[in-house]
Symmetry: C2
Subunit: 283 residues, 2 copies
Amino acid sequence: MVLLFTGVLWLGNKVIPGSPDAINTLQKLGKKVYYITNNSTKTRREFVTKCTSMGYQATEDSIVSTAFLTACYLQDINFNKKVYVIGSQGITQELDAIGIKYLDIGPDTMNCDMPTLLREKVALEPDVGAVVVGFDEHISFPKMLKAASYLKQKECVFVATNTDEQFPTEYPHLTVPGTGTFVKAIETCSGREAFKIGKPSPYVGEAIIKRHNVDPNRTLMIGDRCNTDILFGTLCGFKTLLVLTGVTTLQEVKKWQTSSKKEEQDLVPNYYTQSLADLLSLL
Amino acid sequence: MVLLFTGVLWLGNKVIPGSPDAINTLQKLGKKVYYITNNSTKTRREFVTKCTSMGYQATEDSIVSTAFLTACYLQDINFNKKVYVIGSQGITQELDAIGIKYLDIGPDTMNCDMPTLLREKVALEPDVGAVVVGFDEHISFPKMLKAASYLKQKECVFVATNTDEQFPTEYPHLTVPGTGTFVKAIETCSGREAFKIGKPSPYVGEAIIKRHNVDPNRTLMIGDRCNTDILFGTLCGFKTLLVLTGVTTLQEVKKWQTSSKKEEQDLVPNYYTQSLADLLSLL
C-alpha cells in the first residue's frame, strides 16, 4: 500500500496535532509514504528539513514537489537551452541539480518609463527555450513582458508549476496571490496555455506511478481539499481519503454524493476521517 | 449621423496617412465625431492634445476614454468611499475631476521578505470601497495582494477599465502585457469577476447613447479590429465599418461571412474600406 499525503501535515508553520504520530506509525507498519506539494518555493532538501523539524520522517526520495517535477519534465523532453524562470530558488536549485541553465531570478522592477524600458532595457537572450512560471513574490511588469516575448517563439516551452489561485496564509484579512495568479497573467498576455505540473493536473500522478513504480489501485491519496486533492486522486485512479481538518466540510461531500454531475461525483472521496489521529486509533 | 472612431487615427506615435483629412472633412460635412479608446493611461485632456498634435480636431467632449467612463461609472452608482487604483494618473485625474478619493498610485515594490510583508507592510485602509484595475506598469505582488484583500469584502466594487491582453507596440519582437493581463491576475487571486468598462463590453456604447443622446441606428462604428471594434459595434446595435489598415484582413471577413455561427457573423462589418482616405474619395 502506498500513501500519498498532501495538505495534512501543517498549516503555515503549525504542525497538525496527531499527524506526525499517525504517519510515522503507518510507515512502521510498512506503508510506503510520499509527500506531495504544489509549493514551488522549496527544494526537496528544504522540505525534508521542514518535515523533520515538525516530527515527520522524510527523505528526499519521499518528497514529490512541483519544483522538482518541473526540472524532471524538462529533462524528460531533453531540454538543452536556457530557462526564463518566474519563480524562486526552489526551482533554480532543482534545475541546478540536473544541469539545466537558467537566467537570473529575483527582483526585476520597473525603474524607468515605458518607452525607455521597451527601447533599451529588454534584452531577450537568444538561447532561451523555455519559460517556467512558479511562485514569485517579485512578479513585475518587466518579468511579464519578457516571459510573453520569449513565448512569441512557438517552440518555446511553457511550464507552470501549479495553478493554485491563492497562497495559504495565517492572516484571515489577507488574500495572498498564488502561482495560478501569475500563470493566468502570463497565459493572458502571451495568448498561450502552460503545461501544468501540480495537482489537479494528472502529471504529478503519472510521475509518481512511473518514477516509483506504483500501482494506482493500491495507492491512497490523503488530502484536505476535495477540489484539488480528491479530484486529483480520482483522476489518477487512486483511492482517496479526505481529512476534515482543512477547508472541505462533510456537508459539502454529502451534497456532491447526491449529485448527478460527473464533475461533482469526482470530488467525493472513497473515505473520510475527522483527523489523521482518528485514523490511527481505528487501525 | 454619428461617427465613432477607434484604432484608425495612429499607430503608436505615427499618424495614419490620410486619416486626419478624412475625419476633419466628415466633421465639416456636419457629421458628429467621437473618438473611443480603451487606453486608460491618459485623461481626455491629454487625448485632445495628442489628437491636435496629429492633425485631428477634437474636444474633451468628443473623447470617450475608459479612464473617464470608469469615473462616470463610480459617480453613477453614488460611490462615496475611497478607490484602490491599480493604474496611472490617467485614471486618478479623472477621479479628481469628479471628487472621488483614492489611495496613492505608483511603485509599490516588494522590498522585504514575504513573512515581513504579510505581518507588517499590508495596512488595509478601512474606507476603501472599490478596486479599479487599469494599465499599470508598476504592477507588483504587494498591489495584487492588496487588491485581492480589499475584494474579500463582497460589497467592494470591482471595475476593470478594459481587457485588452496586449498593449500595442512598435517593437515586433516584444509582447507588451495589456490591462487584460492584470485584470485576469486580480480576478484569479480574488475569485471575483470585474465589471468591464471598455470595448467589447457594451458599457461604452450604452454610455455614449445615454450621455450624448445618440440613435444607434444612425451611428457608425469605425475600427480596424473585428474581434473588438466590430463585435462591439454589432453588440451595441450600431452600423459598422472596418478599415483594413489594422490587424483584420478582408480574407478573414469573407470567411466569417460564410459562417453559420452567430459569434462569427457578429464579427462581420456592414461595410469595409481599404483606408479612411479611400472612404473620403468615395464621398
